[in-house]
Every structure is written in structure tokens, then in C-alpha cells.
């Protein structure tokens, strides 16, 4: 396998400023439009905590193996990437990816996803608090413990008794 640098998320540092989404959408589509970003900041614990969420570049590559025409491959920096001239827009990758990090662009009728910006991720550059790092690491569930520690007690307190 190629390089092992991954986008490491440190959710405790995220302020919810959304600069990563703007940078990502600009890098990916040329427009400052968070809806076209492939890194998405979500609120947890009501709206008091935030964390960015993006493709884990997982070992299976569910999107890649699902593609019927081989339009998703592994780039030199180890990212699963969509080859635009091969993608027909059938959306199989979007239901194959169990992380919800495979997107479809109705304007181009192609699938799109995090490609690590070719090894220089714009989101990591844009993050003012180093909540997004691009470094040598094993990919991991960066947000699970953070969200479980904040959102689950919030759910139980706010929603009370299982939500009722």
C-alpha cells in the first residue's frame, strides 16, 4: 500500500467554525458551498460541541469494490478516489459505503468523495485549531468516544427516560 497519512480528527479541538467545509468545497468544486464539501461538521450534545466527519479511507473500500466499472481506485497517497471520466453516476457506491461519506453531485451527475486533495488536504490547512491533522496514523473512529461521552448523556438527560 502507498502512504499511510490519514486525516486525523481531534474533535475536542473543533469550534464548529466550518472553515474546513468552505475550504473543502472550494478545493473539490471551485465554489464556497458547504453542501458540496466532503468533510461535514456536525453538532453533538445538543449544539454545544462540534466535530468534523469525513471518509476514513477504510481498508475494504466499500465504494471502490462496489463500483461496476472500476471508476474508484486508490491514489498515490492512499486515498480512494473517483475517476470522473469513468463514473457513470449509478450511485451504487453511495449505498455501499456504510460510513455515509460517499456523495453524489446532482450538477455533475457523478459520485464524489474525499480524495485527500492529492496529499495536501485543504481542510487540515484551513482548520485554525488543529482539530484536523494530516499525519501518519492508523485510521480510526475519531469521533465515537467523543460523541458517546457527550451526546449519549445529553440524550439521556435532555430527552429523559429514553427520549419520552
Amino acid at each position: 500500500m502507498a502512504a499511510t497519512k490519514v486525516l486525523k480528527i481531534v474533535p475536542e479541538r473543533c469550534t464548529g467554525c466550518l472553515r474546513c467545509e468552505l475550504a473543502c468545497s472550494y478545493m473539490q468544486t471551485g465554489t464556497f458551498q458547504p453542501a458540496k464539501s466532503v468533510i461535514r461538521v456536525s453538532p453533538f450534545e445538543g449544539h454545544t460541541s462540534y466535530a468534523p466527519y469525513t471518509c476514513f479511507q477504510c481498508a475494504e473500500g466499500w465504494c471502490m469494490t462496489a463500483c461496476p466499472v472500476g471508476a474508484i481506485t486508490i491514489s498515490a497517497v492512499g486515498a480512494k478516489v473517483v475517476l470522473d471520466d469513468q463514473c457513470v453516476g449509478c450511485k451504487l457506491c453511495t449505498i455501499a459505503c456504510p460510513y455515509g461519506t460517499m456523495f453524489y453531485n446532482p450538477d455533475t451527475t457523478k459520485a464524489f468523495k474525499c480524495n485527500l486533495c492529492g496529499g495536501d488536504p485543504a481542510c487540515a490547512h484551513a482548520c485554525p485549531t488543529q482539530a484536523i491533522l494530516y499525519e501518519d496514523a492508523e485510521t480510526a473512529d475519531w469521533l465515537g468516544d467523543f460523541a458517546a461521552g457527550r451526546a449519549t448523556p445529553w440524550l439521556e438527560t435532555v430527552a429523559g427516560n429514553g427520549g419520552r
Binding site: 457513470v88 451504487l92 461519506t101 429514553g162
Partner: protein, 444 residues
Amino acid sequence: MAKRHVIVGGGTAGHNAINAIRQEEREPAEIVLVADERPYSRMVLPYYLGRTIAESHVYTATPPRLAQLGVKAHLGRRAVGLDPKAGKLTLDDGTVIEYDDLLVATGSSAVRPKVPGVDGPGIHSFWTLEQVRRVVAEVHAGSHVVMVGAGFIAFTILNSILALGARLTIVEIAPRILPRMIDRTGAEVVEGWLRTHGVEIRAGATLTAVEQVGGRRRLRMKEGGDIDADVVIMATGIKTNLEWLQGSGVRVNRGVVVDDHLRSSVSNVYAAGDVAEGRDLITGQPDVHAIEPTAMEHGRVVGANMAGRDVAYRGSLLMNILDVCHLDVASFGRWDDPGAPEADVVVGARPERHGYRKLLWRGDRLTGAMIVGRADDVWTTNDVGMLKGLVQSGVPLGAWKEYLRRNPFDVKRAFVASRTTARLLPETVLGRPSPPPGIVWATA
């Protein structure tokens, strides 16, 4: 002498098996492919109809690619008999091929109802490339196309027909559209959306005959109200291609019955894809999943096992997605679980956005899901993928179950806080990272 693997069928299952053999084998084996057509991807045929891709784009294992993979191909040939005791396969031209192990991946064929005139000119199935070529030649701007059958296949070509400027009428014998993919409420949302896009739907309508009238087709309907059409597309279902296995001793139920290694009742005969009756990931029961993702996973597992690996398959997850004029429609797992207690079926609707969801539970695990939503809404969150992840992982959702009951449009918090990612990351189909497509690792 090198081992000889024989692959019968060049569709998704066969193609993936060949690639997996080459990726996994330690010593180069001989691979023989028998396919009655040049291998192509059925999944992308609708885009060829819509002219957004060229015909050349549909081919998968092209002759150069087969040569690169070191595959001896019998293209245009059909398997007609299998003799597992002798280890011999017979083709329709009399050729006999000996094998060490063999994959049955002969897929399905389109079927038409037995109605007078149904095989006449201007009436087509949309299944094989040859059939699709005929449809491509006949559908033009201004054509009136009538699709008989409102199932998945019909819906995959709906956008292309409209994009070509043709007028479309859908005729369905069941009282509603997409009876095997979404529930009645979901179907109503999709029907409403289609009507606003100028598509006429005649559900609960039975075709009794097709007549040729002045160069056009006249569909006679049991309920009255005949329909005139330039082109008729019969999307009335498929049947598995199993007849050729009769007398072989390979155990067949609805499909070839396979174990968790996708071996049939004959240990060196495997089956994959539409013809295989393998384990359903959610129910644990044997089932035939005639869908692309199952064919792909089956094929890879068989290829790895043929190459000497010992890969047990967890089972396939039923899943489908359709783009209906930019309204996305997807379902996963046991979306129509008849045994689910009523309290464990959650629905959410946003009628003003044509949004509809249904979540089905067993205990605090999601076992099925359905989602309908506008493309510009659905892809701003991608709950589609996360719902698949929740169903696939079977993660216990605890108190998040009740949260999702009240907030079915907010899946992400539940997904993340339940550490679904941590469950999913170690999962691979073949027990190792997947290589990119197109790589040949071990062939000589």
C-alpha cells in the same frame, strides 16, 4: 500441472471471481471463462441508453484485459451440461472442458408474461446488451414509450427515456409501483413525484395482448383503456438461469444452494450472484439476492476460495438505490419485515420535500431501512450510507432507538455516538485491504 478454474458466466460475479483469483493465488492457475456474451456491466446499460456513455464504456473484461489476466475465454458459448463426477463441463458447440473447480455464475434472464403478441416487433426487454441496442435504436425524442412492469429495472431506465425527450407511461399489474423495493407510502410519494415530471402511471393494470397497428403497438388492457405506443419495454421480471444444471446433481432450490464458502452441494462447484441461494446477512436465512452488490461480493469470495484462501462469507445485505428524476429512493435489509412488531416500525415524512423514511428494528438494532428524498436534500447529509452502516453493522443503538423514532431525519448523531465506525473499520469481505481495480498480482 496448474490447477484449472472454470468460470461459467462473465457478468459481475464471474468477473470479480477472476480478478480475485489473480489477486489471491500463490501459483498461477489456468482460468477458463465461458460466457455467452462479451462481458459487460448491466448496471451501466441505462447510461448507454441515455447516451451519457458510449457503448465501449459498458465492457468490463475486454479481450485485452482477459489476455492480461491470462484467461482463456470461450465467448459466445453457452454451458449446456455439467458432470461433477467426471469434472467436465459441456458447451453448446460440443466442446468439453475439464476443471478442478468451477463457478456457476450464469445469472438471470428477462421473462415476459404469456400474452398474445408480446414477442412482436417494437417490444423489447431491457436486460442484455443486445436487447438494449434495439431499445437505443428505437427510442427518440417524441416517442411514446410504454414500460410494462414498475420494478427496479424499469426504474433504472426511466431517467434516460425522459432525457431523450420521449413520453413515458408505466403499466404495473400490482396496485402500486416498486412493490419489491419500497412500501405503499413510499410508492405514493414516488408516484406523486413522477406525475409532476409528466410520467403517466397505470397501476393495477393487466396487459392482455399487444397488437401491431399501423407501425405502432397497441396494448390491450383488461380494465379497458388501450394504450398506443411506439416502443414497449417489458420489464416484467427475471428468472435464474439454472436449467442447464438439471441432472448434474448440484442441489438447487430457488437458486444453487451454497454454504458460507459459496460452495454448492458438490464441493468443487461454487455458485455466485443471481443464481446462488446464499446467506442473507440480516435474517441469516438462505435467499436469492439478484442485485449487483451481492454478485460482486459473492464473486470475490469464490475467487479467493478457489485461489486457496479460506474465506467464510457473512452474508449479503439486500440493498437498492434508484434515482427517479433526482428523487432518491433506497432500501436496505428487511425493509418490509412482516414479523416486525408495530412498535418497531418507525416512519417519518416531510411531504413538502417529498421526504419519507422508514426504520425497522429488532430490539435496539436496525434491521431494515427505507429512504426517499430529493437528491439535493439527501446528499447534503448522506443518511443513505449511514443507514446502510447501521443495518450492516447491527450496532446496538440503546437510547438512540427512541431518539431515531422521534428524529428519523437525524441519523448521524446516533451513528457516531454508537461508535458504529469502530465496528465497521475492521470489516473487510476478504479479510484484508482491497486492492484497486485493474491490478494483476500473481499471474505469470
